[in-house]
């Protein structure tokens, strides 16, 4: 098999942009250290490319033509779109993997009608993970988007099917591929409630995710998620896709609700990659 690593992490812009405002610096530094462990694990996996399943925030896709799923097949990307001073990540070029991305897309299309894009600007949803996971921007990136912003949103069982399709596609090629999903769990970002976190909801979700309990994961509905986990909770689609791709149990390496200035429960986890049953 050529999927060699699967994990999840948070991507909130405050993680880099508001690092200097954090009061609980010990907890912040512990989080950063766990992200560096994730970077090392990806490097140790021998990955030749990194797929980032993200939930972008209107950097490329708008309600004029919104794909539920999209895979990047460009040679090169750029980011961040945000003010670099605000995000504290300088504007840079990021290498893509055009040929590999195209072959993966072709395979995914056998079961999921995915869109593709040769142009892609990265926002904080991808730039924050890359800042920690490939700080030299020397690993080819294949961006993947699941629309979690502009309703109607893809149903959770389709996010699962997409994750399965992506795994099958990765295993059909010879390259070693790492994949991370990046989203928030409960959070109310970009509202006056920024910093609100439903830790109990997060821990229940993470329990289902680490057990890779498909039925329990797909049992959420968006009305309840909006009520209990905020509009940011719609991003669980990225984590669910990773669980489907990995097939195995997860290992929660870090979670804290004690960094509300980052506006999300900060999460790092990896999954065991299992063969198809």
């Amino acid at each position: 098999m050529s999927m060699v690593y699967a994990g999840v992490l948070s991507h909130a812009p405050g993680i880099t942009g508001r690092a200097n405002l954090v009061e609980n610096t010990a907890r912040r530094d512990e989080f950063y250290a766990k992200l560096d462990v994730q970077r090392q694990e990806i490097e140790d996996s021998g990955a030749e490319a990194l797929i980032v399943i993200a939930a972008e925030h209107f950097a490329n896709f708008f309600m004029n033509n919104m794909p539920a799923y999209c895979i990047g097949i460009g040679n090169e990307y750029e980011g961040p779109i945000e003010d670099p001073e605000w995000l504290k990540i300088p504007k840079t070029k990021i290498p893509g993997a055009a040929d590999l991305g195209t072959r993966l897309t072709r395979e995914v299309m056998k079961t999921v009608d995915v869109a593709y894009a040769e142009e892609w600007k990265f926002d904080h949803g991808i730039m924050v993970p890359l800042h920690f996971l490939t700080p030299k921007y020397d690993l080819p990136i294949i961006p993947v988007n699941i629309n979690c912003q502009g309703p109607p949103l893809t149903p959770l069982h389709r996010a699962w099917a997409f994750g399965e399709a992506l795994r099958r596609a990765c295993d059909s090629v010879s390259e070693k591929i790492a994949v991370v999903g990046t989203g928030g769990i409960s959070h109310w970002p970009a509202t006056p409630d920024s910093g609100k976190i439903n830790e109990q909801w997060d821990r229940e979700f993470l329990d289902r995710l680490m057990r890779n309990d498909k039925e329990a994961l797909l049992n959420y509905d968006d009305i309840e998620t909006y009520r209990d986990a905020g509009q940011g909770g719609f991003e669980i689609r990225t984590f669910i896709a990773i669980a489907a791709a990995a097939r195995g149990a997860g290992e929660l390496q870090f979670y804290t609700a004690e960094l509300p200035i980052f506006a999300v429960g900060c999460t790092v986890a990896k999954f065991s990659l299992e063969d198809a049953a």
């Binding site: 209107f58 950097a59 006056p192």
Partner: protein
């Protein structure tokens, strides 16, 4: 009301450096490219984060716009609260305020 085009204006502005140059050099010409009401045009001319929030601009789009305008983090959160105090609850979308206007960060309570 043309919330769709209001958001599209900000979407283009947030992602496109040539639109950003136009915003700074000839804002009226840029506004003319979109089907916007007078209230929306004025909100964009004044960078009125509070009114744009209440009109229902997606929070992520609005957050990136506030960053583009160079607004400090806690000022940006306060501008949304003030918008609600002045104009009432958020009128559209999924970024409504649900916390009664209070701050959820210790750092914000200090400011």
């Amino acid at each position: 009301m043309s919330l769709y085009y209001l958001q599209k204006f900000l979407y283009e502005l947030n992602r496109d450096e040539s639109a950003q140059a136009k915003y700074r050099n000839d804002l009226d010409a840029l506004l003319d490219e979109f089907d916007l009401s007078e209230e929306e045009c004025n909100a964009l001319r004044e960078g009125d984060i509070g009114l744009l929030y209440v009109l229902g601009v997606n929070g992520q789009i609005l957050m990136h716009y506030a960053a583009f305008l160079g607004i400090e983090w806690f000022d940006y959160l306060d501008m949304m609260r003030e918008g609600i105090a002045r104009h009432g609850p958020v009128r559209a979308g999924v970024y409504a305020m649900t916390g009664g206007g209070k701050s959820f960060t210790v750092e914000g309570k200090k400011s």
